[in-house]
């Protein structure tokens, strides 16, 4: 029974476009879903592997920009005589490139950054994201800078005359749901495997991990690559949904949003980023009903994060799990006590 309720949830979610006609709500679900995928990717690096990477939005943004640029085509002059240009490619290919380039960036960053650890690593990760943002702002020839890349085409898939367009919200919602489920499964399989155990071991006790034969650098890089590629996927989805992308996508606040989602949901758990993503996707909408200023909304986020760290330090999901485990123990203890006292079984 327990095994199947996630699937029941998926079926329920899949049915949404059939009965939900409010496009605004669908929009909320879509953006929440995209953020959930990003949060899941961050959870792999932050939650499971224990690395304080605060530059994650860079991978998201690199995926978004790459996908946009490949779909739109571009031309840049590296040196006065030397031009690199690319003709527009089909969107599905562009999205794939978004994933690949983000993953490659993750590989490079992983290889370089893990020479420094702890607080220094945090700073390097933030700095990296900021440099990428400043490049996006300033390299106008490639990125259009603050003027944004727009008219980004929507995804269409098809062959032999039959075509599916993911322009409208219901279709895109289904796309995000499918991608989200796939990403969830990828993470689930990864963390319950030898590679996953290695990553968790790195988080728990690095020296011990080394002594049992785990290659630290290899698994840190692996976690970063998968995490970056998945964030790139989220970015690609974002780009072909919103269909405009500007350098603000690299702002530190978005990394913070992802971190809040992962931490409040429960870092190092599978459901954590999903719950966190749902929570922080829903909260702005709830607050909107009260006509609260965005500043106040952010203050609530900040306070909420502080409260979670104090009172539910491991996040919502572990707190719920502990509660259920505690209840199970108490029920079992009661049963045992009753049995010992010779009372008839309930």
């Amino acid at each position: 029974m327990k095994r199947y309720w996630p699937w029941a949830l998926v079926v329920l979610l899949a049915s949404v476009p059939l009965w939900l006609t409010d496009f605004y709500l669908l929009h909320i679900l879509i953006t929440t879903g995209i953020f959930m995928i990003a949060a899941m990717s961050l959870n792999l690096l932050l939650g499971y592997t224990g690395q304080l990477s605060l530059g994650h939005v860079a991978f998201f943004g690199i995926g978004a920009y790459t996908s946009a640029l490949v779909a739109l085509g571009f031309e840049v002059h590296i040196l006065p005589e030397y031009t690199i240009s690319l003709a527009p490619k089909p969107v599905w290919f562009a999205m794939l490139m978004g994933v690949v380039v983000a993953g490659l960036t993750g590989y490079a960053i992983g290889k370089l950054s893990f020479r420094v650890r702890g607080a220094y690593f945090v700073i390097v990760s933030i700095s990296f994201a900021e440099v990428v943002r400043l490049v996006a702002v300033n390299w106008v020839e490639l990125t259009q800078g603050p003027m944004a890349l727009n008219n980004i085409p929507a995804l269409t898939l098809g062959a032999a005359g039959w075509e599916v367009s993911f322009l409208r919200k219901p279709a895109f919602y289904s796309l995000v749901l499918v991608v989200g489920v796939i990403c969830y499964i990828v993470i689930a399989r990864l963390v319950d495997s030898r590679a996953g155990r290695a990553m968790i071991a790195l988080r728990e006790n690095e020296s011990l991990a080394m002594s049992v034969g785990i290659d630290v650098t290899r698994y840190l890089v692996l976690a970063t690559v998968v995490s970056a590629a998945m964030a790139g996927m989220a970015g690609s989805l974002y780009t072909h949904y919103i269909r405009i992308v500007d350098p603000d996508i690299f702002l530190f606040v978005y990394t913070v949003t992802m971190v809040i989602m992962v931490v409040t949901g429960g870092k190092g758990t599978l459901a954590g980023p999903v719950v966190g993503g749902a929570l922080f996707g829903a909260i702005p909408e709830v607050l909107r009903a009260f006509a609260i200023a965005p500043e106040v909304q952010w203050m609530i986020y900040g306070i909420l994060m502080i409260l979670v760290v104090y009172f539910l330090p491991r996040g919502i999901i572990p707190a719920v799990e502990d509660y259920l485990a505690g209840r199970k123990k108490r029920t079992q203890a009661t049963k045992n006590a009753l049995a010992d006292s010779g009372a008839p079984r309930p």
């Binding site: 304080l52 370089l112 950054s113 020479r115 420094v116 702890g118 607080a119 220094y120 945090v122 700073i123 390097v124 933030i126 700095s127 990296f128 900021e130 440099v131 400043l134 490049v135 702002v137 300033n138 530190f252 913070v256 971190v259 931490v263 200023a293 500043e295 106040v296 952010w298 203050m299 986020y301 900040g302 306070i303 909420l304 994060m305 502080i306 760290v309 104090y310 330090p313």
Partner: protein, 290 residues
């Protein structure tokens, strides 16, 4: 040539305040091992205090500077006592998250109170710059430089010549032994955070009248402060001082000769390069303060 010297002059003036930012953060980072995301907000707080005192309450400029700094000290102490004291002994990611939460709250409070409009603060100095030969520098900036040097010197004095400073250095080197020797670690934490925040606020109070005051001014300041801490090595005041000047020079020269758009990127690039090449910082041979 004249242009180069002008750049160097500008950099020297800026370097002093950068050094203040960096020293404050390196103390906090070094002694408390806290990734202090609120540092930039204390910088902004100092600037806003100046605005409120000078422009809204008509307080004397110099008095306002002192008051703004003291208010920064108070806010820093409050943050430490309210938020961090419970977390002593927690791991670095926990405190980091709390600091991020605090940063969000502080910045948005500022945004809410002052809205996003850029504000300017009048200064009592003559408007015409001080000119010698081909070089010119505004009196305001000269004052800022001198004030920064005075504050840096005061900090050196506190750290190296007072009992408090000795306790701080002891805590930095070996907190367990320091505790055994009677150092009240909790108080040292509060004092360190308050001192570091005060320095950040003073930098904001000094630079507020030079540039403009806006709610997001803290973000860049924080980023630069981190760059300086890494340049100079954790807990290394001399390193942070030198780092502040180095960063200012790199920025000025980079902006002047390469591209002004990437000016702010200089600090980040420096961080990345240094951490990859020499992770302990340019000056950290042995980690010590003072």
């Amino acid at each position: 040539m004249g242009e180069l010297v002008q750049h160097l002059l500008n950099a020297t003036v800026l370097g002093g305040t950068y050094a203040l930012l960096g020293i404050g953060l390196t103390l906090i980072f070094g002694i408390m091992r806290v990734v202090n995301f609120t540092h930039g907000e204390l910088y902004a707080f100092g600037a806003y205090c100046m605005y409120a005192l000078v422009m809204m309450m008509g307080v004397n400029f110099y008095v306002a500077l002192v008051l703004a700094t003291l208010m920064g000290v108070a806010l820093g102490a409050a943050v430490e006592v309210l938020l961090l004291s419970r977390l002593r002994g927690a791991d670095i990611d926990t405190t980091m998250l709390v600091m991020i939460g605090a940063w969000i709250v502080l910045q948005n409070t500022e945004q809410l109170v002052w809205s996003g409009v850029a504000l300017s603060i009048h200064n009592p100095f003559p408007a015409e710059p001080f000119v010698f030969g081909p070089l010119s520098v505004s009196w305001n900036r000269v004052f800022v430089f001198l004030a920064a040097i005075a504050l840096i010197a005061s900090t050196y004095y506190i750290i190296n010549k007072t009992k408090l400073g000795k306790a701080m250095r002891a805590t930095f080197q070996d907190r367990n032994t320091a505790a055994l020797m009677g150092v009240r670690i909790g108080r040292i934490h509060t004092a360190t955070f308050a001192l570091g925040s005060g320095l950040a606020a003073s930098a904001g109070a000094l630079l507020g009248p030079v540039f403009v005051v806006a709610p997001t001014m803290g973000d860049m300041a924080a980023a630069k402060a981190f760059a300086i801490v890494i340049l100079g090595g954790l807990g290394n005041i001399t390193g942070a001082t030198l780092g502040g000047f180095i960063l200012a020079f790199v920025e000025e020269l980079g902006a002047g000769y390469i591209s002004s758009g990437y000016r702010d990127a200089m600090g980040f690039l420096l961080i990345i390069i240094i951490l990859l090449v020499k992770p302990t910082g340019l000056f950290a041979q042995k980690e010590r303060i003072g």
